[in-house]
């Protein structure tokens, strides 16, 4: 299934780039897979299935183009289709990276970027994506059609951006994939989105092996995802990191994540995702090194300043040096008065200092975004705890 989705994405990328029309590319690739389903069981699987699909898709595209109504478009598309390989011997290049950059183009709205990436690069079916985002299928289908039309009609290129534009464009790609993962991380949890986010970063890291942050984001998602079975109870209640059942952590995946992080750091180009992955990695240690975590948050604040990063730093400092140091830092942060975790952190530090904390807890509960988080905070009111999930929305 995964191999099928990879091959499908690769074929769509190649046809889409040559034809300049992703809708047509998708339809032609679909036709080619239908043909394969008819012929392969009868004639045997070809020596190079990927090349077979691309060649068949080329022929299916030509059939479809011949049915085009307008002469000018027909001539233009046919000329483009001729560029595609005619025989199955040609080595098929992997052009998914070009496709990813088109799907995550800043000229598309973020929700369109996410839907397109999941559909074209991830190979998820429209009903699957609609279900994951709790949207009517028709709404999502229309979103996809509009985005593909904009790519075609506005001339969004299927290519890797030039050097000078790459850092900016990569940020959008990373943000889009992180959004996919976070949409699944919940609560409520939607496993298929988390898995897809991890898989997309794996593809990206393979296609851009020299890009440290691609490995950094891959590491971060692997590590966050490794806790997925432990961070919620069967009833859907949040479980503190320190209280999670370590037996439920996916330690093989933690190793994978740490390996990706090492790979990223060996490229000597630090970035926010690598720092967050390093923090996530430290949280898996038997004895959590809070001083080190506080230091990493300080570096993160230098690279990607945000009040949420400052909040996490304050919590880490509180854990390392005591609640009064943490509280002092919390009170220096401006702009989080409506953020439930800021109040929750204040509440915990206040209680640990033996000062009144009930009002702060009430405030946190009132601002919490979901029932799971509200229940969690109510449960904490009588307990000693300050540890939060490391999830910064950069």
């Amino acid at each position: 299934m995964r191999a099928y989705r990879d091959e499908r994405a690769k074929s769509v990328a190649i046809l889409g780039r040559v034809l300049g029309d992703l809708d047509l590319a998708e339809d032609a690739v679909q036709d080619a897979f239908v043909r394969a389903a008819e012929r392969w069981p009868r004639d045997g699987v070809p020596a190079n299935p990927g090349a077979w699909i691309v060649t068949a898709a080329r022929n299916c595209a030509i059939d479809r183009i011949r049915r085009e109504q307008t002469f000018a478009r027909k001539a233009q598309l046919l000329a483009r289709a001729e560029e595609l390989p005619e025989d199955e011997e040609t080595t098929i290049p992997d052009e998914r990276l070009e496709l990813i950059f088109a799907c995550c183009h800043p000229a598309l709205a973020p929700e369109a970027q996410v839907a397109l990436t999941l559909s074209l690069v991830g190979g998820l079916a429209t009903p699957e994506i609609a279900r994951a985002f709790i949207l009517p299928e028709a709404t999502l289908a229309q979103r996809l059609v509009r985005a593909k039309r904009k790519i075609r009609d506005a001339g969004i290129p299927l290519r890797v951006p030039p050097e000078h534009a790459l850092p900016d464009r990569l940020r959008t790609v990373f943000a889009t994939i992180y959004l996919v993962f976070n949409a699944g991380y919940g609560p409520p949890v939607r496993r298929e989105l988390c898995e897809e986010g991890v898989r997309l970063t794996a593809v990206l890291a393979t296609l851009m092996p020299d890009e440290a942050e691609a490995h950094g984001l891959h590491a971060l998602l692997l590590l966050q995802d490794a806790r997925s079975a432990a961070r919620l109870t069967p009833k859907g209640e949040l479980v503190l990191l320190a209280e999670q059942d370590r037996g439920l952590w996916n330690l093989a995946q933690v190793e994978q994540g740490r390996h990706s992080l090492e790979r990223a750091m060996s490229l000597r180009a630090p970035g926010p995702y690598q720092l967050q992955a390093a923090i996530a990695s430290l949280h898996f240690d038997e004895e959590v090194d809070w001083a080190q975590i506080a230091l990493l948050y300080e570096r993160l604040a230098g690279l990607a300043p945000s009040p949420v990063v400052e909040l996490n730093r304050a919590v880490a400092v509180g854990m390392a040096r005591g609640p009064d140091a943490g509280l002092a830092l919390l009170d220096e942060i401006g702009g989080l008065e409506d953020y439930y975790l800021w109040h929750a952190a204040r509440a915990d530090f206040l209680r640990r200092l033996g000062r009144p904390a009930a009002a702060e807890y009430e405030r946190a509960v009132a601002l919490a975004p979901s029932d799971a988080e509200r229940d969690f905070l109510r449960g904490r009111q009588n307990l000693l705890a300050t540890e939060f999930e490391q999830r910064d929305d950069l």
């Binding site: 000018a72 478009r73 000229a107 506005a154 001339g155 969004i156 290129p157 951006p161």
Partner: protein
């Protein structure tokens, strides 16, 4: 492909600039236009008179209605345009970002229909 780069900004924006700033802005537009023309990508481009000179025309039931002013009262108004001929949206966006007015207002980039058969 052809793209229309529509330059939107506050209508009174020009008047709020000091004479030096106006001179700088004018020079920046001359330099940009020269660069665009030299690249061979410029099809057309002009500044528009202020929106106070605008007249709107509507024909309803065969009757022509002429009114003073733009079609919609907005804070940012169309002040000028460039029509360029480039290969991709990325190139068009690159030129749009270089327009001096982009630092004050907004440049709307719109692909131009070239294939009327396909519409």
């Amino acid at each position: 492909m052809q793209y229309m780069l529509l330059i939107y900004g506050e209508d009174s924006g020009w008047k709020t600039l000091t004479p030096e700033q106006q001179q700088e802005m004018g020079a920046a537009y001359f330099a940009f236009t020269d660069e665009l023309r030299a690249s061979g990508k410029m099809a057309a481009g002009d500044a528009l008179q202020p929106v106070t000179t605008a007249t709107s025309v509507r024909v309803r039931d065969g009757e022509t209605l002429t009114t003073d002013g733009p079609f919609a009262e907005t804070k940012e108004v169309l002040g000028g345009y460039y029509l360029i001929d480039v290969d991709t949206l990325d190139e068009a966006l690159g030129w749009a970002a270089k327009i001096p007015g982009a630092a004050y207002g907004t440049i709307e980039v719109r692909p131009v229909v070239t294939d009327y058969e396909a519409m």
